[in-house]
């Protein structure tokens, strides 16, 4: 009776009483950890300007989100690090030499228009950082063109070379340079090796959905390989396509944002495949040299349709 007599305050809650331990904040932190190799490589390759853009973008994103939540009368939830995540992803798509106002404007638009306007985390129909990126890219094409912004560098822009100088010139860039991020592009998007490392670790831990990433890369590599086989003189190899532009960033980190991707394995895979194939289509036939961000935005819009592919629920009688 002694145990019952002592007054202990028990916590009441709803089942289940065990939990996998993952919270929104923890998943965001994992994501940040997965982006860290690329961030470090970006600073190595582009120096302090890259760090400046990343910091500015993250800080603006967090402040704008806090401000929005204040205005909307919501509880502050910037401590879940999702704004940090979105800010960092957006900065990865910007050139390291982007002016400060461009960075801040992008982060501001991404968080307000790409996230808070729809009600906050997880309600946005398309990827948050890509909304900011798209507005900037369409409004300030020159400032968003890394090739025009990064003049003081020895690196080459592989996709520009592919488009204007042909396959031979593009493939003259050593493969290791591409992997180590010695290419002109978005400051983090070009860090192919580091992104692959971080992304595959996250996929292995189940933080990002491997079905989407795999589908995306197959979607890029498949058509690219087909074209390459048909005419190697006109089309770059699939590896070239995978390691350039923002394919790795898109496949691992942008297309996989769970809120605007399908949630069942088969639709996820199809979604990835479509995104990847669209990237190649834009690269080959479109006006943009790197089609990844637009491809991801477009397949984001297909998610509600893909979500209709669903199995029959357990034991449901067909009606």
């Amino acid at each position: 009776m002694s145990a019952a007599a002592t007054s202990v305050l028990l916590a009441m809650s709803a089942p289940p009483y065990w939990h996998c331990g993952r919270t929104i904040r923890q998943v965001s932190l994992y994501m940040l950890a997965g982006l860290m190799p690329a961030a470090v490589m970006a600073v190595c390759n582009w120096g302090l300007p890259a760090a400046r853009v990343m910091a500015l973008c993250v800080v603006t994103a967090v402040l704008v989100e806090a401000l929005c939540q204040k205005v909307m009368g919501r509880e502050l939830s910037v401590d879940d690090f999702t704004a940090v995540n979105a800010g960092l992803l957006l900065s990865f798509l910007l050139p390291a030499a982007a002016p400060w106002w461009l960075v801040m404007l992008g982060a501001c638009i991404a968080v307000t228009l790409g996230k808070m306007a729809f009600g906050g985390l997880g309600t946005n129909p398309v990827n948050t950082p890509l909304v900011g990126w798209a507005v900037l890219f369409v409004s300030f094409p020159l400032l968003m063109d890394p090739n025009a912004m990064q003049l003081a560098t020895d690196y080459a822009d592989p996709l520009i070379r592919l488009r204007y100088f042909g396959v031979a010139a593009a493939e003259a860039i050593p493969f290791t340079d591409l992997l180590l991020g010695r290419q002109i592009g978005g400051l983090g998007a070009g860090q192919a090796g580091a992104l692959f490392l971080g992304g595959s670790l996250l996929a292995a831990f189940g933080i990002i959905r491997w079905q989407i990433a795999l589908g995306f890369f197959l979607g890029v590599a498949g058509p690219a390989a087909l074209c390459h086989m048909l005419d190697p003189a006109l089309n770059a190899s699939p590896f070239f396509h995978l390691c350039t532009g923002s394919v790795l960033l898109g496949g691992f980190f942008l297309a996989t944002e769970p809120a605007n991707a399908p949630s069942r394995p088969l639709p996820m895979f199809i979604y990835g495949l479509l995104g990847g194939a669209l990237t190649i289509a834009i690269r080959k036939y479109g006006v943009y040299v790197d089609g990844t961000p637009f491809a991801v935005l477009l397949v984001n819009l297909l998610t509600p349709l893909l979500d209709l592919i669903r199995p029959k629920p357990f034991g449901a009688r067909s009606s």
Partner: protein, 430 residues
């Protein structure tokens, strides 16, 4: 392949724990609290009545619900709508005599000629619930998996308490109308018996959910003519068969983060006493769970008791899991969709329930939910997903009942009006 790429890498979900020790005997309760909802008190049982072990206190009108018996020597201290409280007292000579008389009147179930429902009535008189044991089906499956992760009594029941189990099976064969009785055991156990049909099934939770065991055994989802019963019930049957006395005990796992043990405890034991007996200290902020850690219910007080159906008592220490923080909107991460064994979208169901759009959940096949609790386990927003689904199911059941009532009313009103018309016509004709 599925196991490698799944999000559930919690080793506790593998429902084999290597526990084979015999069950310990639980404490002799100082206070017993028996459920009496729906029960009718036996004549002469009032407040202050002196009771002895296995004395019949209340009877349930349903033939499938076992009678309630006193687990201890004691005095009834309180009777209310929901419970009978028995306080332990030093037995008088009279009580001792009565208890001895009960011991003498043992029933040898295996020599009885009764079968089926008639045997069921005898078992009801021995305190056994026979709803699932005696259900009408062609094939009866005994679910011999630990029902919830953390519950560990199934293995010792199968391995160390085999005699009780076999006695239970013997009675079950006489009770059940089923042509085949199968024992579903974890695949890894490699258990074989010459006198019972054993089927090996997967053992990773949620494999122990009844519907999934049926699927694993028969290969079909919700087939007709297949019934399933928990191992716990068969053990209770065996216990009664071997002692010939009314059932006043139950087996449960008492567990916390560091401690876990299986005990045969008296029905109605209060949870405070059980935890004290198992040397589990409670601290402020801990969650006390009756039932399994995934499907059980949390309790606010230590004087709640365990009943025949309880599978366990668990203490979840404060700080071992992220707390639920009230307002937490769904962020569409899709983790619940990936994990759901019923292939539903629990996130969507919970959002509909949150905004009282229960009718929409019908189109989402909410009735297919197996209530395994995994959606809440993986939810990174810490939403009470299972609770929302249960709420929605409950509201829909209420709506159905109301609609049915309305239908009956209008039908009876119509028939009354029709008969009224007919009589009026008759009168008119006359």
């Amino acid at each position: 392949m599925k196991e490698v790429f799944q999000m559930l890498n919690d080793p506790r979900f593998h429902l084999l724990y290597g526990v084979t020790q015999r069950f310990s005997t639980g404490p002799e309760p100082q206070l017993a609290r028996l459920n009496r909802e729906g029960f009718k008190l036996v004549e002469g049982v009032t407040r202050k009545t002196l009771v002895h072990p296995r004395m019949r206190l209340a009877v349930h009108p349903s033939p499938l619900r076992g009678d309630a018996f006193s687990p201890i020597f004691g005095r009834i201290s309180e009777i209310n709508e929901r419970s009978i409280f028995v306080e332990a007292v030093e037995p008088t000579e009279e009580q001792r005599q009565a208890a001895e008389n009960v011991e003498k009147n043992r029933v040898d179930l295996l020599t009885l000629p009764e079968r089926g429902a008639e045997l069921g009535m005898i078992l009801k008189g021995l305190g056994l619930n026979t709803r699932s044991l005696g259900q009408h089906c062609k094939t009866l499956i005994i679910n011999a998996l630990n029902p919830d992760p953390g519950v560990t009594w199934a293995e010792p029941m199968l391995l160390t308490h085999l005699d009780t189990l076999k006695a239970g099976l013997e009675v079950l064969r006489r009770l059940s109308p089923a042509e085949r009785i199968l024992l579903a055991v974890p695949r890894e156990m490699r258990l074989h018996h010459h006198d019972m049909e054993v089927v090996h099934v997967p053992s990773q939770y949620p494999a122990s959910v009844n519907a999934l065991v049926v699927k694993a055994v028969t290969g079909r989802e919700n087939p007709d003519g297949v019934g399933i019963v928990g191992l716990h019930n068969v053990w209770s049957l065996g216990r009664v068969a071997r002692t010939g006395l009314p059932l006043i005990e139950t087996v449960l796992t008492i567990g916390s983060l560091e401690h876990s043990g299986n005990y045969i405890v008296k029905e109605g034991s209060t949870i405070g006493e059980l935890l004290h007996f198992a040397n589990i200290e409670l601290k402020n902020g801990d969650t006390l769970v009756r039932g399994g850690p995934l499907r059980g219910e949390s309790l606010d007080r230590l004087d709640r008791s365990v009943t025949k159906g309880s599978t366990g008592v668990f203490v979840v220490e404060a700080g071992t899991i992220p707390p639920m923080q009230g307002h937490s909107p769904c962020i569409n991460c899709g983790a619940c969709v990936l994990i759901c064994p019923a292939r539903l979208s629990p996130g969507l169901l919970s959002r509909n329930a949150e905004f009282a759009l229960h009718e929409r959940n019908r189109a989402e096949h909410i009735e297919c939910c197996l209530e395994c609790g995994l959606c809440g386990y993986v939810c990174i927003a810490r939403r009470p997903v299972l609770q929302y689904i249960r709420l929605s199911k409950y509201k829909l059941a209420q709506a159905d009942a109301a609609a049915k009532l309305e239908e009956l009313r209008s039908a009876s009103a119509e028939s009354a009006a029709a008969s009224g018309n007919a009589s009026a016509a008759q009168q008119g004709g006359a």
